[in-house]
Symmetry: C2
Subunit: 275 residues, 2 copies
């Protein structure tokens, strides 16, 4: 059993993957780091690994566009579990740079976005550099001889022996990220707390309302709705929906009707939340 995640070591994805295998598989499982989200998804699709753990949504910055678009357009994988991880961002540097002004700040684009107000307030003129992961940012700072700072995890600060200058620098103190585990195994017909799907409607007045009407008839609670561009013209969208439904038969009936009333429909899976 192999589970892939967005590496290198020390990322939030690793924390999520560790929580997942500890709860579900215990020790009979090895973790495989990948350099990019798309590499994790491709490796699952190719059968190179059994399952992948990818970030999906953050409570401050919103949905991870790459993950949602890949699940819609690029791969045919199913969501198997949801894992929630609390996120704490720290700004760190090498011991000799503490107290100096940073020349550049390195981090993952989502982390930079989540600490936007802190950066604007404290380092308004410092260039921010987007790198592939928080751990990569810590590694760059460790290996440089310049006044470089990184926004990264506690785990990465330990791995790369960096000094944390300030902790909890994200724009809101309550910050958590939702990860999905994805698999090739069909999870659409199982009993599970949450269901995720995408659909598009004809571009006519009231079409979205009529689609939501179906869920309302079956008393199904919508916990998230998001529009993503269909990418061919401005103003054409695909809708991503999360819903909660305890009754598996009601859910399947409602989705069957929804599929009939929409011109594109993809059920991404039904799954439980890993506490």
């Amino acid at each position: 059993m192999n589970v892939g995640y967005l590496g290198p070591e020390g990322t939030f994805s690793q924390l999520a993957a560790e929580k997942y295998i500890k709860t579900i598989y215990n020790e009979y499982c090895s973790l495989v780091p990948f350099a990019k989200i798309q590499d994790v998804l491709k490796a699952v699709a190719n059968g190179e690994i059994d399952e992948g753990v990818v970030p999906f949504e953050n409570s401050i910055e919103g949905t991870v566009n790459y993950t949602i678009d890949s699940l819609i357009f690029d791969v045919d994988l199913f969501i198997k579990n949801e894992i929630i991880i609390p996120i704490c961002h720290n700004i760190m540097t090498r011991k000799e740079c503490v107290g100096k002004r940073p020349k550049k700040i390195f981090s993952h684009p989502q982390s930079l976005a989540q600490c936007r107000k802190y950066i604007e307030k404290n380092y308004p003129d410092v260039e921010t550099i987007q790198v592939l992961s928080n751990s990569e940012a810590a590694k760059i700072v460790k290996e440089s001889t310049d006044e470089y700072f990184a926004i990264s995890t506690n785990a990465a600060a330990k791995i790369y022996s960096l000094d944390i200058i300030e902790s909890e620098i994200q724009d809101r103190s309550h910050n958590e990220t939702r990860f999905f585990t994805v698999t090739k195994k069909d999870t659409r017909n199982i009993d599970g707390a949450k269901t995720s799907l995408v659909f598009s409607t004809l571009n006519k007045p009231g079409e979205l309302y009529r689609a939501l009407d179906i869920l309302s008839i079956w008393d199904i609670n919508l916990t998230k709705i998001e529009s993503r561009p269909l990418k061919d013209h401005l103003g054409t969208y695909i809708f991503y929906i999360d819903l909660e439904c305890d009754n598996v038969y009601d859910r399947l009936d409602a989705l069957k009707m929804l599929e009939r009333k929409t011109n594109f429909f993809k059920h991404l899976g039904t799954y439980d939340i890993l506490k």
Copy 2:
């Protein structure tokens, strides 16, 4: 009359701002470049400039999170016009680097996202560096002595004398961006083709459906719906909506009802599309 935009010279925002002042104000207007979207919005809010032009939504990558979140949470400005600009991305470098392998590729994060598939196919192992604008990327490449490439506009290639290696490298050939002009002047009660608003509902089953029901009763067409995180907890959202309504009285009645039925409501303005 001063209109601010996301500079430096050669950005798509400049093209949008030029189209806007040419159509609306002719020559009695000067354009002022700013380094960041937030600087444009703050300058309008402070009265330093009269109006600002900011990117809002791209047909491939979706909504510009910074702009939408600032209009919701940070400033109280009104949308005055919508401007649509076709987007063409080019990869470029200095003459002596043509034919060489790039060490790094510089661009604005939205442009990197819009050319994701091209970069993955042609330069899968090259580091991409996020900078504040496409023009900034071209400037960095011009001033470096390294094998650096930029993804930027035709205008920037001319300003910085860079050679375009390949044109139209965005993931879809049809690519356009929607800009807003924003002002302190209230535009909520005017006659206009489009209306933008945000609201949040109680976190109960069917609340979003009941809000959309109001628009359906007045036969108002929804052209965009997007959820943004309320930023305090995962799963709490604010909804952004664009709607079309020819009848100004119907629109005002519908919005009055919507405001009564929601617990947060902000009408961002009513405006026309600049053709």
